[in-house]
């Protein structure tokens, strides 16, 4: 497949741009933060997005979705990186849909995917238990009991964990931390007895949570897929998650670049525009080149998911590692090239770095994915 957008994908990108500029621009993030919002987004935003079909883009047609594909969805998520728009799009329409679609039974898909596509329910993926991403190191337990399961353990850094209706939880039905076998996925109501949610706002003021599960009883029907064989679906979900995080980071890297470039053409010192200084020109040119590399990595990874390419896991790690690297550069250079004003809360440029770092950290940072790439490459 040629590494370019087709017309439909291009149109979706443009309509996302238009929508976000109008209803969820960066100023909205400040507004939500200052109002002490519990979600990070306006109450009706998700309903509007669902109305436009964004919740259904990755849902197969058979379950009431649009089945429009990852390249298209990637364009929307990239744009949300430019506007720093918080919404359930990532945790629900990407992670929730991918996990359910990869693991669930027909009946579960019909019920859950249908409800997501319609914008009726939101989800959150609860995986990590330690301060660094380690999906095989799960020690939370699920013990079979009374025809159902009893869940015990604790999760952290759960995106939308304090607001989602359903939690998709990775727990261990066999083996021990470090084993790939023995991991199972469960759908648990956030309001279920024994679920204790602690909201943990981070630098980006989004709604993450640490969640404790104490003797939470779920029915057998809560199990997604086969008992003990959940790692493959979890892995596929994490790959998708990382590719979309890379897409969002691409939006951040581009927007912080565009704003900085604009500033280089406005700000004067020593009687000239600061953009005439070669030391800044060269850093800007290098930054731009790096962003070009990022665009290719993200597009290829999105295409690989659409095509069911066996290289998708490696491409996910390539994209995430590279985007972590370049977004770190981008957000730091953005502040430095703005000088003092870049340090102020009043100016918007400082918002990018505060969203970038949690997005980089989630599901593995540059080091994690460089290591994983090496492993997948056989060394």
């Amino acid at each position: 497949m040629a590494l370019v957008l087709n017309q439909e994908q291009q149109m979706l990108k443009e309509s996302a741009q238009g929508f976000l500029a109008e209803f969820a621009p960066l100023a909205e993030l400040r507004k939500q933060r200052d109002a002490g919002s519990q979600t990070g987004y306006a109450d009706n935003l998700w309903a509007q997005m669902a109305n436009m079909g964004w919740a259904a883009i990755l849902v197969p047609e058979a379950y009431g979705g649009l089945e429009f594909g990852h390249v298209g969805m990637g364009q929307i998520v990239e744009q949300t990186g430019r506007t720093l728009t918080a919404s359930p799009l990532f945790a629900t329409a990407v992670l929730g849909v991918t996990a359910i679609n990869s693991a669930a039974s027909e009946a579960q898909k019909t019920e859950l995917l249908g409800a997501i596509a319609a914008g009726d329910i939101t989800t959150a993926l609860a995986v990590d238990e330690k301060i660094h991403h380690a999906p095989a190191a799960i020690s939370m337990t699920a013990v079979k009991q009374n025809g159902g399961y009893l869940l015990n353990g604790a999760k952290r850094f759960v995106a939308d964990g304090s607001t989602a209706d359903k939690l998709i939880v990775a727990a261990r039905t066999a083996g021990e931390a470090g084993d790939i076998d023995g991991i199972s996925l469960f759908v648990v109501d956030r309001s279920a007895a024994g679920v204790e949610v602690e909201r943990t706002p981070m630098t980006d003021t989004r709604n993450y949570a640490n969640i404790r599960f104490s003797n939470v009883a779920v029915a057998e029907a809560a199990l997604l897929g086969e008992e003990g064989k959940g790692f493959a679906a979890l892995s596929a979900t994490l790959d998708a998650g990382n590719i979309y995080l890379a897409a969002e980071l691409l939006g951040i890297a581009q927007e912080s670049f565009d704003r900085t470039l604009q500033y280089l053409k406005e700000r004067k010192q020593f009687g000239v525009l600061i953009g005439s200084f070669q030391s800044l020109q060269h850093r800007a040119a290098d930054w731009w080149s790096q962003v070009e590399l990022c665009k290719s990595a993200v597009l290829k990874a999105l295409q690989a998911m659409d095509e069911g390419d066996a290289r998708a896991p490696a491409l996910a790690s390539i994209a995430k590692a590279k985007l972590c690297q370049v977004t770190e550069l981008a957000t730091n250079e953005a502040i430095q090239m703005h000088g003092g004003i870049g340090m102020t809360d009043e100016y918007e440029i400082g918002f990018f770095i505060k969203r970038a770092r949690p997005a980089q950290m989630m599901f593995g940072d540059n080091h994690y994915h460089t290591d994983r790439f090496a492993q997948l490459s056989g060394y």
Binding site: Q281, A284, A285, W288, C294, K295, S296, T370, A374, G378
Partner: protein
């Protein structure tokens, strides 16, 4: 079967019968390349046969029009040919400044007579070209060149000195920039001219490099007669063509960031050299360096692909050759620095059979020139800043 599928099948069959077995193996060394030319000594009979067979089909210049000896392939067919060549790991049948640089410039700007005269011998590997741009006083500031061409009616008399002329002592013809109007503004008085290196007054003298070899020369021009019918494009309008040609050169040099060494990836070489412990390279710092490099290389390869696809579909910003040149050459330099770390003290051995005549350290040193030749990295960054980002 579609036409393209049929073309693929025919190509595959033809290559199966015509590409000698030894031309399907890469050696870590410069003898993979075939330069052609009047005085060229082929490394083997197979190399000669392979070049001649490909040349007969025009596939040494697959996308040039057939009327000038080229393959006449369209973009899709050209891509198929490249894929089929890669599939059997075939070596390039002919590498030359003719194919990479002056050929494309002639196709775009040359007169019909010049095309007829010069293109077919390039395709056949009969004439080897060199590039006479740089001078002692004009490197990055190429438009400041001083070598003069004095108007004598139907010809010019050229005087001056060129430098860093790659393979100047091995080439048959030179494409050369001369100042033909000394009154005009810097860029306006330059012509691109062609002459035979055997013309009286042309003296190339090899320069020894840090790698120990002498692939380039300083070239003295003393009263060299250059015919006016050998001017490419208009007289005094050579700068535009020179820049066009530089774009091709940059893409070609940038592409070196992608060439595997001896058909193996850095990770494979590292695994072989250092060994694995529980599936991992047993040196964690080096492992991280190798993986980081391979990730960057993958992103660069995808970018080269994307840029090509964007041009094909009429999207994209264009003018990306400066970025590809900048990033690709810096990447290639990093590749060899990492290779040296992988190979340890073995990698620094300069002479002897075991080291293949010091191939690695010599090639490593040669890569330092990648970010200088064809315009330095700093110059590429200037081009990006000015032409793409609009920073004055």
């Amino acid at each position: 079967m579609s036409d393209l599928q049929a073309f693929r099948q025919q190509t595959r069959d033809w290559l199966e019968h015509n590409c000698p077995e030894s031309m399907r193996q890469s050696t870590a060394g410069g003898d993979d390349m075939c330069w052609g030319g009047r005085n060229y000594k082929f490394a083997s009979e197979d190399q000669k046969v392979w070049m001649e067979r490909m040349a007969a089909k025009g596939w040494t210049a697959p996308d040039w029009p057939a009327e000038y000896g080229g393959g006449g392939l369209d973009k899709a067919e050209h891509k198929v040919l490249k894929e089929e060549l890669a599939r059997i790991n075939a070596r390039s049948p002919l590498d030359s400044f003719g194919i990479w640089m002056i050929g494309p410039a002639l196709l775009k700007f040359g007169s019909e007579a010049l095309k007829q005269q010069h293109l077919p011998p390039i395709v056949r590997g009969e004439i080897r070209w060199c590039q006479g741009y740089s001078e002692p006083g004009a490197g990055s500031d190429l438009a400041g060149l001083q070598a003069k061409g004095e108007d004598r009616g139907d010809h010019f008399i050229a005087n001056g000195q060129k430098v860093w002329t790659s393979y100047g002592d091995k080439a048959d013809w030179m494409f050369c920039l001369l100042r033909t109007d000394t009154e005009a503004k810097k860029q306006m008085g330059i012509s691109l001219v062609l002459f035979d290196m055997e013309t009286p007054g042309v003296t190339p003298k090899p320069i020894k490099l840090i790698s120990g070899s002498s692939p380039f020369c300083e070239t003295f021009l003393d009263d060299v007669r250059v015919e006016k019918d050998q001017v490419v494009g208009e007289i005094n309008q050579g700068w535009t063509i020179a820049k066009y040609l530089l774009t091709h050169e940059r893409e070609m040099i940038g592409g070196m960031g992608l060439a595997d060494v001896g058909g193996e990836s850095l990770g494979q070489i590292a695994a072989k050299t250092l060994g694995l412990e529980q599936g991992r390279l047993n040196n964690p710092m080096l492992r991280a360096e190798v993986a980081t490099w391979e990730i960057d290389e993958a992103c660069f390869a995808l970018t080269a692909e994307r840029v090509t696809d964007e041009v094909k579909s009429g999207q994209g910003v264009g003018a990306t050759s400066a970025m590809l040149k900048y990033y690709g050459t810096e990447l290639n330099k990093r590749r060899f620095e990492t290779l040296l770390k992988i190979t340890g003290s073995d990698g620094l051995v300069w002479e002897g059979e075991a080291s293949n005549g010091g191939w690695l350290p010599r090639t490593w040193l040669r890569t330092k020139g990648n970010s200088i030749e064809g315009g330095t990295s700093e110059v590429q960054l200037n081009v990006i800043a000015k032409n793409i980002l609009g920073l004055g």
